[in-house]
């Protein structure tokens, strides 16, 4: 069984890739893929609404194979309304922060407190780069700050923090932070390093589709893990984090 916790049918180029999502489900034998549609680094309220509507529509058309995370810009005036409608009415199973603000900015607090109430995970884009760091792009240190501020919050730090040697040490002691392996980075040692530092139970499978796919599967298959441990990464850990009754 495979659960992909981090994929997109829309990304910043605003091309609809619903067909691609369906293709990868079939091609790679994915049991469930969670899409979070992002629109622009600093989107308008309307753009957030459009992206989320597209995700909702796709997820509801294939509920057995597709779930969705709510794209939220917590600095927006309507953020709490978007969150309430998204979780209570639209069927989103988690929340995604992207680039509109650093994840540890105080402006996120009200949204985060509601996310904790709902018991859903918060997926945070996190990518440390030696070149091309974007405005408001969170890294592991930002994730750790938020995790320490809200130890009840279930956080998924995306992309192993970009460069895992930057991201993983930052969140190593934050037991409320899981990481996903999504991205086009496929270095030989990243997953082994991650498991050695935070354990296998805090690692989730993700791809960042349409950015990558088979390379992420390859990393799990090649890691120094037992088949049971690989299953935890491929789906068991995700089931736990997504379970709203599982609270910290």
């Amino acid at each position: 069984m495979i659960i992909d916790i981090h994929a997109h049918s829309w990304v910043y180029d605003n091309v609809n890739r619903d067909d691609l999502i369906l293709k990868v489900i079939e091609k790679f034998g994915i049991d469930k893929i969670y899409i979070s549609n992002v629109y622009a680094p600093s989107p308008t309220e309307e753009e957030v609404g459009l992206a989320n509507k597209a995700a909702e529509t796709l997820a509801k058309s294939h509920p057995e194979h597709i779930g969705a995370f709510l794209y939220l810009s917590p600095e927006h005036q309507n953020a709490l309304d978007v969150l309430k409608r998204g979780i209570e009415d639209q069927g989103f199973e988690g929340v995604k922060f992207w680039l509109s603000t650093f994840c540890d900015d105080m402006v996120v607090n009200k949204s985060v407190e509601r996310i904790i109430d709902y018991g859903v995970p918060l997926l945070i884009h996190s990518f440390h780069k030696s070149t091309g760091q974007m405005d408001n792009e969170s890294i592991g240190v930002n994730v750790a700050n938020l995790a320490k501020r809200y130890p009840e919050l279930k956080i998924i730090m995306a992309h192993l923090g970009g460069n895992c040697y930057n991201g993983i040490p930052a969140i190593r002691d934050c037991k409320n932070v899981w990481v996903d392996i999504s991205s086009s980075i496929y270095r030989a040692d990243d997953l082994n390093y991650t498991v050695e530092n935070i354990g296998v139970d805090r690692v989730l499978f993700g791809t960042d589709c349409p950015i990558a796919y088979s390379s992420c599967i390859g990393q799990v298959l090649e890691a120094d893990l037992t088949n049971e441990e690989k299953d935890r990464i491929f789906y068991k850990n995700a089931l736990k984090v997504l379970d709203r009754s599982f609270r910290l």
Partner: protein, 231 residues
């Protein structure tokens, strides 16, 4: 399947858990890869790369593997090391790293080296980058300029050349050269442009020039194999 871009050895910027020739062979066997063109990561960083190549020769104990010399064209021993490598190490290729050794692809030193390759009939492997640019630590690799690479390729159409760790957008920019120069190839290790890269290469008309390359042990081999085999 042959791995046209693999290495043995460590890396100065992070711990490499598996890096020996035996590790390489084991992973190749696991992935149905029969052999490869292998060079030494240590040679990239040594003052005299030939020292790393001599160590590599001692490790390679399998006839399915070809030793590829690492050459920094700016070093005084560069050109003599090619003939020496053929005689002493049974070298089957020469690899250059312009992103680290910072030489001009169209400069005098490369002209001398390519003349030697012409005479010895060895293939040239040009590695366009090491680590992913976003993950560099402590130093910034020099970006290989596509216009300079185009000029070099146009001036060396008779050589057998492999472009290693190339990006899809660079393949696109070099499409005319890749399709028109008969012995110009590129490897798969650095293509990071989405899911179905073979489809993109077919659309570009260059799929026939793609060769499997892992860039192991920097890259996860299984990741590159699955991407290469995905049709």
């Amino acid at each position: 399947m042959i791995d046209y871009n693999c290495y043995v050895g460590g890396w100065p910027f992070r711990k490499i858990r598996y890096k020996s020739f035996e590790d390489l062979k084991r992973l190749h066997a696991d992935n149905n890869i029969e052999g490869g063109f292998v060079s030494s990561t240590y040679s990239i960083f040594y003052n005299d790369p030939y020292e790393g190549d001599m160590d590599l020769r001692k490790e390679i104990t399998d006839d399915n593997y070809n030793l590829v010399l690492t050459v920094n064209p700016l070093l005084p021993g560069a050109v003599p090391s090619v003939k020496r490598g053929i005689d002493e190490l049974n070298a089957k290729g020469v690899k250059v790293f312009p992103w680290f050794h910072d030489f001009d692809l169209n400069g005098r030193e490369m002209k001398t080296l390519t003349d030697e390759l012409r005479e010895t009939n060895l293939p040239l492997f040009i590695v366009l980058r090491g680590d992913d640019e976003r993950l560099q630590y402590m130093f910034s690799a020099k970006e290989v300029q596509i216009d300079a690479l185009k000029k070099f390729l146009e001036g060396n159409k008779d050589l057998e050349i492999y472009l290693c760790n190339i990006r899809m957008n660079e393949v696109e920019q070099l499409k005319d050269q890749i399709t028109s120069i008969s012995r110009l190839y590129f490897d798969f290790s650095g293509l990071k442009s989405g899911l179905f890269q073979n489809e993109q290469l077919i659309e570009m008309g260059v799929a026939g020039k793609a060769r499997y390359g892992s860039m192991w042990p920097l890259n996860c081999m299984k990741s590159t194999v699955l991407s290469y085999n995905l049709k």
